[in-house]
């Protein structure tokens, strides 16, 4: 009964989304507050219904209800509870349900937390969000219904793809979806602004927190996915320029540009065309990502069960939303008057450069991802566009960005002083050069590694130069007071920029790694960079729904044991698949990584061993970026609603208003 009521709740949510796609827009056009008031209430109810449907599907997975086809195809009664739950979205149908759930969460959040927004804007935003929701709910119910039932339930399920049986599945998709779908809100804001024709600084301020939230989740989601691939695919790579990864990188680049651009629009009401365009672009790219992954155009671990019918359906949704919004954009573009004027060398000018570089980088990734697909579709020829292409195109676009990042932070609005900024950055530049020399002396070749490491140190120091100058201006004893007095968004910028540089440092250090692929036996010791790894033995083990062979090993440095790792090679009988579970020890910021393959009859195993100095910085950098985003999100500027309400509240006689 829970299953069918969940199913019904989902259908009902579609009906509500359709209602909410019509009434609020109608109300906004007629300036009718009564009709516009429908939007938030229905948005919250849609969320409740979809959340119930999601609960129902989760329940079916947890109790192994094999009358639900989705459970049969992706679960197994012996699977540990956490994978029964995360298995809900470890498949096409369930992940689409998670997608609309997050869509509804964002809709409800706008309804509940944007009371201060102008009614018309809120009504139009929620109506746009409902259009998107209705399209995807229809897609789910007609082509990928997670509640499809089986009249003859089998005795056991087919189990989840072993690659997905990992705590990563519990975290990576929800984070990434919060990012992807979060961009739907910025898209809805852009469409709402285009519909109403009010595209001003206030709009930019309302949209900024949502862009930030989406960006934070997208950043963390991508980083988490990359770390998951790193420890689970068994060969130590963390980014493959795989089309699915690119599909998440493109919206990230667009969202990053949007984030910066919205700041300009908010402060100076300039770059309006850019901002609206980037908001549309970011969500369009995440829709294209969805299309690539779900249509069967690609085959990868993300591509679940693909089906051409779904592909066509998503293509229709995609053309509808992208085409529709671009048409609106073209229609309104003439009305977008130029905002505040600025000199080429200014904060605004720097951010235009940032936009150009980021969109160019985005276009590069787009071409690198879609060209091989288009070529194969047209001529049948298969080509592989991988790291060499992106190293030659993407990297040269990104390097100037790193150089410019601290400079941009130094420039004033309207009119900046490039020479002054450069002078104030001399310390950071000096630090970078010294760091590069130190790294060169310490680790040596390749030259790209120590040059990039120096660049990242320059950016890290440069990110904080301006703030540090203010905090430690004269009297150090007031430093803390002055630090907290600075806007949190300034701190957020510094942390986010530094985080990106930390990631760059981790990437630069890959050049100093050591890897060995060999056959090992119990008792053998392998030299690996500064460490020795001794394999203690080969131990067969039995997991709940797999059997494993593990190779516990001790890592020593100069004869002293520093860590123990237990790489495993697992076999999942119900899917007849093997998967490696790498043994990883984090030593300092570097990692020793070991993964094993199957054992040969004489007791030897194939093993890959890596020493990866500073590798954990890649993901730590993403965490720092996310932290920076959070800091910026907590800035008082974005809480204008709260401040205003305090002001308009009746003030008791004799009391002074706060602030």
């Amino acid at each position: 009964m829970i299953v069918e009521t969940g199913h019904y709740a989902l259908v009902l949510a579609l009906a509500l989304a359709l209602v909410n796609a019509v009434i609020p827009i109608w109300g906004a056009r007629r300036h009718d507050p009564q009709l516009m008031a429908v939007a938030p209430s229905v948005a919250v109810m849609t969320f409740v219904l979809i959340a119930y449907a999601f609960f129902a599907l989760t329940y079916a997975h947890v109790v192994s209800d094999f009358s639900v086809a989705n459970v049969v195809e992706n679960s197994h009664s012996a699977k540990p509870l956490i994978y029964k739950i995360s298995g809900v979205w470890g498949n096409h149908e369930g992940s689409m349900l998670l997608w609309v759930l997050i869509l509804a969460i964002f809709g409800a959040a706008v309804a509940l937390f944007s009371r201060n927004m102008p009614d018309e804007l809120r009504a139009n935003v929620l109506a746009m969000q409902s259009w998107i929701g209705a399209a995807f709910l229809l897609f789910i119910l007609l082509t990928s219904n997670p509640f499809a039932r089986l009249a003859q339930p089998p005795a056991e399920g087919q189990d989840l793809n072993p690659l997905l049986q990992d705590p990563g599945l519990a975290i990576h998709p929800p984070l990434l979806y919060l990012g992807y779908v979060g961009l739907s809100i910025t898209f809805s804001f852009a469409a709402a602004a285009l519909i109403s024709g009010r595209i001003d600084a206030a709009w930019a301020r309302y949209v900024r927190p949502w862009t930030l939230i989406a960006w934070i989740f997208l950043t963390l989601g991508i980083a988490m996915g990359s770390y998951w691939a790193y420890y689970t695919l068994g060969w130590g790579g963390f980014w493959f320029w795989d089309p699915v990864e690119n599909a998440s990188l493109m919206p990230w680049l667009a969202a990053t540009a949007l984030l910066h651009c919205a700041a300009v629009m908010e402060k100076r009401e300039a770059l309006r065309v850019w901002t609206i365009f980037l908001a549309i672009l970011a969500f369009s790219l995440s829709l294209i990502g969805t299309f690539l992954v779900r249509s069967g155009v690609l085959t990868s671990v993300h591509a679940f069960a693909s089906d051409p019918q779904r592909g066509v359906f998503i293509l229709v949704i995609l053309t509808g939303f992208i085409g529709g919004s671009l048409a609106l954009f073209a229609f309104r573009a003439g009305e977008l008057k130029q905002g505040g004027i600025f000199a080429p060398v200014s904060r605004e000018g720097a951010l235009v450069l940032n936009n150009l570089l980021l969109t160019a980088a985005c276009a590069t990734v787009f071409v690198g991802t879609l060209y091989p697909l288009a070529l194969e579709a047209l001529t049948g020829e298969k080509i592989s566009v991988g790291a060499p292409f992106f190293n030659a195109t993407f990297v040269p676009l990104f390097l100037p960005l790193f150089f410019a990042m601290p400079i941009g932070q130094m420039l004033a609005w309207k009119r900046g002083d490039l020479l002054g900024a450069a002078q104030r950055l001399m310390v950071a530049l000096g630090c970078g050069v010294v760091a590069a020399l130190i790294f060169a002396a310490w680790h040596g070749a390749p030259w790209a590694s120590y040059c990039l490491a120096g660049l990242s140190v320059y950016v890290i120091v440069g990110s904080f130069t301006d703030l540090a100058g203010r905090v430690f201006a004269d009297n150090a004893s007031h430093a803390w007071h002055r630090a907290t007095g600075l806007p949190r968004s300034a701190w957020g910028t510094a942390f986010a920029h530094a985080g990106l540089a930390v990631t760059l440092l981790g990437l630069a250090a890959t050049g100093w790694g050591v890897d060995r692929v060999l056959t090992v036996r119990a008792g053998e010791t392998i030299a690996l960079g500064p460490y020795e790894v001794s394999v203690l033995g080969l131990v067969p083990e039995q997991g709940p729904n797999y059997s494993a062979l593990s190779a516990p090993s001790i890592i020593r440095k100069g004869g002293v044991a520093v860590a123990k790792i237990v790489p495993e090679s697992r076999f999942y009988p119900s899917r007849r698949m093997s998967r490696a579970e790498a043994g990883i020890a984090t030593l300092g910021f570097g990692q020793v990584y070991m993964s094993i393959g199957g054992a040969s009859p004489d007791g030897a195993i194939d093993a890959r061993l890596y020493w990866k100095p500073l590798v954990s910085l890649i993901w730590l950098g993403a965490l720092i970026m996310g932290f920076g985003g959070l800091l910026s999100l907590s800035d008082r500027r974005l809480r204008i609603g709260v401040a205003r309400r305090a002001r308009v509240a009746p003030v008791p006689p004799g009391a002074q208003p706060a602030e």
């Binding site: 009964m1 009902l12 339930p153």
Partner: protein
């Protein structure tokens, strides 16, 4: 109960549309908000000048810009709020009609309101017999995961897989057993049999090869010969089929399946009479233990079906015969009584039931 919940859900969904339409709408003061935003911005510009993010000489211009924006936006806010009862009524009607119509209409297409939840544990509790086989299979599978070179385990799994319909797995297990234990005639014919199942009763070329190899080993392998005969029959080569089966009968005239094969031969020579299915022949060829298990499974299914729908005379007759063959005279008598009770008002049927009872010596 289910429909009550559906009604309740539909009710709250409609309520979420009607409630805001019935309440007095909030009135926003757009101008006041614009002013607040502007003041906020002015304060910010001052702070930015302090932090040298705006040159002091530019501050004035930037502030003027902000003021200009305030004027423009105050200009845009002039449209007065208008509440129209007609629109509210239309929107109410839209909510009242569209929501139930879309929800029930679409749910009727995709939903299964009459299907209950079937959590695994509840099913285990209610169908222990059936799950026992599944559990046993799971146990053997777990054992094999640990000892993947135990060919005997795969051999045991083959008939069990076939019984619960996991034909693909049966083929794989049979071929693994063959690989691990070598090709004895029995294993070859077992493998061939799974291929026949996988091809839904057709003796494919691959299966035929397996059977031919089994026969070539010299020993008497009734199952292989049975299927080879079947293959010939399916190829339309009746004389060859007859020859193979006749030789088989000559070699093993007293085998338990001999009688049914004889009937099959008679049917084939006369081109008439009861049709024998490939499945029947396959069952006949199984080793005794397995065959009994399969037959009992089929008999149980037949009995269950008849218990639900007793109007099937041929079914009852088959069931009684089957019980007799299985040496379960008591069950056969009970089945006879049940048949008479179900078909008592059909004299022709009663007559045939009595005749069968007489034939099998089950009277009284």
């Amino acid at each position: 109960m289910l429909w009550i919940i559906f009604a309740l859900l539909t009710g709250i969904a409609i309520f979420s549309v009607l409630w805001p339409l019935a309440r007095a709408p909030r009135r926003q003061n757009e101008v006041e908000r614009d002013i607040a935003f502007y003041e906020e911005r002015l304060g910010e510009i001052d702070r930015e000048v302090e932090r040298a993010l705006i040159a002091p000489e530019d501050a004035k211009a930037v502030k003027a810009e902000a003021a200009r924006r305030l004027l423009v936006s105050a200009d845009q806010d002039k449209a007065p709020a208008q509440v129209s009862q007609t629109r509210v009524r239309l929107a109410t009607a839209l909510g009242l009609v569209l929501i139930p119509a879309v929800a029930l209409g679409l749910y009727a297409r995709v939903g299964h309101p009459d299907w209950p939840d079937l959590p695994l544990q509840a099913r285990l509790d209610s169908e222990p017999g059936r799950m026992d086989l599944a559990t046993a299979i799971a146990k053997v599978e777990a054992h094999l995961a640990q000892n993947p070179s135990d060919g005997r385990g795969y051999e045991v799994l083959v008939p069990a897989y076939l019984r619960i319909g996991r034909v693909e797995d049966a083929v794989r297990a049979a071929s693994t057993a063959l690989r691990l234990l070598g090709d004895s005639p029995e294993r070859l014919s077992l493998y061939g049999e799974t291929l026949v199942y996988a091809a839904q009763g057709v003796v494919t070329k691959e299966a035929q090869e397996a059977f031919t190899k089994a026969v070539a080993k010299g020993a008497l392998v009734p199952k292989a010969s049975l299927y080879l005969g079947l293959a010939a029959e399916q190829d339309g080569d009746k004389p060859r089929a007859l020859a193979i089966w006749k030789k088989l009968l000559a070699d093993a005239p007293t085998a338990p399946w001999a009688e049914s094969l004889r009937q099959k031969l008679i049917a084939l020579s006369s081109e008439e009479g009861p049709q024998s299915t490939p499945e029947g022949a396959a069952i006949a060829a199984m080793p005794e233990g397995d065959r009994d298990a399969v037959i009992r499974g089929m008999v149980d299914r037949l009995a269950t079906r008849l218990a639900q729908n007793g109007q099937d005379l041929e079914g009852w007759l088959r069931l009684v015969r089957a019980y007799k063959v299985l040496n379960e005279a008591d069950k056969a008598r009970t089945a006879l009584d049940e048949a008479r009770r179900n078909l008592g008002n059909d004299p022709a049927a009663t007559a045939r039931i009595d005749a069968l009872a007489h034939e099998l010596g089950l009277e009284g």
